[in-house]
């Protein structure tokens, strides 16, 4: 029993960070905007880390899963809004749709692309995002490039006030919950055979295969899990918070890049890393854009390069290495 509890110690610092974020946002006036962005980055990093961090494979098409999740929620709301009996359940159905659609897309992409190794996988996935966007626009699926606007339907389902509270506050709380769930799943994987298999294949795929690990299976598990969380984040941050969706806005590779930076900055494959990465990235981006608007990327790029050179294993990776044997490390993995 004690062992089981100890196993979950590393969640404390993660949840503590989330709790502090929440308190600051709630109590310091004018901070919720920043906190909302940070929570989004935390959830995004934590979700992406399950794949990028644990397998070492870089998916440049990751944002497609968020985009599809956004559409899942949008479709549920627009198609079901007239069924009054469902009420708030429609949002729940939307989450289910987002989850299923993102998972299905990841199975389709994974079945093909995960047969490729390393850089070849990365190159193959670049096409997924753009391809999916052009498919929607070109084949006029889900209204094509006209997108979907469902502010009215959301107001109708939830009532104007609740819908507005959802977009300014509750959507962010849901994002926080998704981040918490993703942290849980990450730790659960780390402590189970899945985590050991993923570590082995990340370090040496050929040796892992000879040792009896079905690497394709474990890569797909990580891929689907990671994609499903991305779908949920999209459904919340991009559909519930702002009730419209346009293909160029959600299938935007910029978000994939941000997710990669967050995971690498904090420490790929660590539990606390994505949180640290999200905070460093989110806070510096926010203040740079206030104090030096227009120059933030110019300043940001070298900072990221320096951090990556100084701490190739990320901030948390470096901490782990330097304080290996201290008791504190029981809480940081």
């Amino acid at each position: 029993m004690r062992k089981t509890v100890q196993r979950y110690y590393p969640l404390f610092p993660v949840f503590a960070a989330y709790f502090i974020l929440f308190l600051v946002g709630k109590n310091v006036s004018g901070m919720w905007q920043l906190v909302s962005t940070l929570l989004f980055y935390c959830a995004l990093g934590q979700a992406f880390n399950i794949f990028l961090g644990m397998t070492g494979y870089v998916d440049f098409g990751y944002v497609a899963f968020m985009g599809v999740g956004t559409y899942g929620m949008a479709i549920a709301i627009t198609r079901l809004a007239h069924v009054e009996a469902l009420g708030v359940l429609i949002v729940a159905i939307g989450f289910a749709m987002a989850l299923v659609m993102a998972a299905l897309l990841s199975v389709a992409v994974g079945a093909v692309a995960l047969r490729l190794r390393g850089a070849y996988f990365a190159i193959a996935t670049i096409g997924v995002n753009e391809g999916f966007r052009f498919l929607i626009e070109g084949a006029k699926i889900w209204n094509g490039s006209d997108g979907m606007i469902f502010t009215a339907q959301l107001n109708q389902i939830l009532g104007r006030e609740t819908a507005s509270a959802l977009s300014t506050f509750w959507a962010d709380v849901i994002v926080l919950i998704i981040a918490v769930l993703a942290a849980f799943v990450t730790l659960f994987y780390m402590k189970s055979k899945i985590g050991y298999a993923l570590t082995a294949l990340r370090e040496d795929e050929d040796a892992a295969v000879v040792m009896g690990i079905n690497v394709t299976k474990y890569k797909i598990i990580a891929f689907i899990t990671s994609a499903s969380f991305a779908g949920l984040v999209g459904a919340t941050s991009w559909a519930l918070k702002t009730p419209y969706v346009f293909p160029p806005e959600v299938f935007e590779i910029h978000y994939t890049i941000e997710a990669i930076i967050i995971v690498l900055l904090g420490g790929a494959g660590t539990l606390l890393g994505p949180v640290a990465g999200a905070l460093i990235y989110g806070i510096s981006k926010y203040y740079l854009s206030i104090f030096l608007p227009g120059f933030q990327l110019l300043i940001f790029a070298p900072i990221i390069i320096i951090i990556i050179i100084l701490f190739p294993e990320g901030v948390i990776g470096m901490l782990k290495k330097s304080f290996r044997d201290s008791t504190l490390m029981r809480f940081i993995i």
Binding site: K193, Y196, E203, D204, D206, A208, M211, G212, I213
Partner: protein, 246 residues
């Protein structure tokens, strides 16, 4: 009892016949040395047995079951373990975690959980003499320690057949003797058949192999009890050249 059987196995790489119609039998619990100079096809033979390559012709049987086209990850659970010539540790993981991976996905696979695997790993690490390095990252070990860790990792798979690829190259002769006797001891206790590939360290084979298979240019040259094989004139020729006519 025959554990592993190869029947007329051939593997080509382009025009090069790396392994040419090789047939052999390994009995359970047997200790066999595979000997041959550089390029004689030893590593290819190992890769055919562990499933890294599939043969162009011929069949591979393990415990009577045809495994010729079975992917490597399905062979390990049957009881087939191997070490690599150049150690391939999972660098960021600790020694303990490395060895535990062997326990988790080897022949105990479905029957063992993570905690039990870690316990088993601890026992094996202790036995193999890496106890003090248990919590170190594998990437920080010395070359010899990495080799020992690989052996531990393979033993944790609880194999019926262990393929050892030059496992002791680069070790001090004294360490070799110790390691060999330790492995032999464990192999006898757990009834593990060992096929050790040897290029340079004849000492290691002579010490314990019951049988020696000599490969030359992809073909089997000699398959005989150790002493007999090493005295065979063809083997002497392959290794040392023809004696000068006086």
């Amino acid at each position: 009892m025959v554990l592993l059987r190869l029947e007329n196995v051939t593997k080509r790489f382009g025009g090069l016949v790396a392994v040419n119609r090789v047939s052999l039998k390994i009995n359970s619990g047997e200790f066999v040395g595979i000997v041959g100079p550089n390029g004689s096809g030893k590593t290819t033979l190992f890769n055919l047995i562990s499933g890294v390559y599939f043969p162009d012709k011929g069949d591979v049987f393990f415990e009577g079951k045809n495994i010729t086209r079975l992917p490597p990850y399905k062979r390990a659970p049957l009881g087939l373990g191997r070490t690599f010539q150049i150690p391939r540790p999972f660098g960021s993981a600790t020694v303990r975690e490395n060895v535990a991976v062997g326990a988790m996905f080897g022949s105990l696979g479905g029957k063992i959980n993570v905690d039990e695997s870690l316990e088993l790993a601890d026992q094996i690490i202790e036995r193999i003499g890496l106890g003090e390095h248990r919590k170190k990252r594998a990437s920080t070990l010395t070359a010899v320690e990495k080799k020992m860790m690989e052996i531990a990792r393979a033993l944790a798979m609880k194999p019926k057949l262990l393929l050892m690829d030059e496992a002791m190259a680069g070790m001090h002769p004294k360490d070799i003797d110790q390691t060999v006797s330790l492995i032999k001891q464990i192999a006898v206790e757990e009834n593990i058949a060992i096929v050790a590939m040897v290029e340079h360290i004849m000492r290691a084979v002579l010490g314990m192999a019951e049988k020696v298979i000599v490969l030359h240019q992809g073909s089997k040259l000699v398959d005989a009890p150790t002493k007999e094989a090493l005295e065979d004139s063809r083997v002497v020729e392959v290794y040392l050249g023809r004696p000068l006519e006086e």
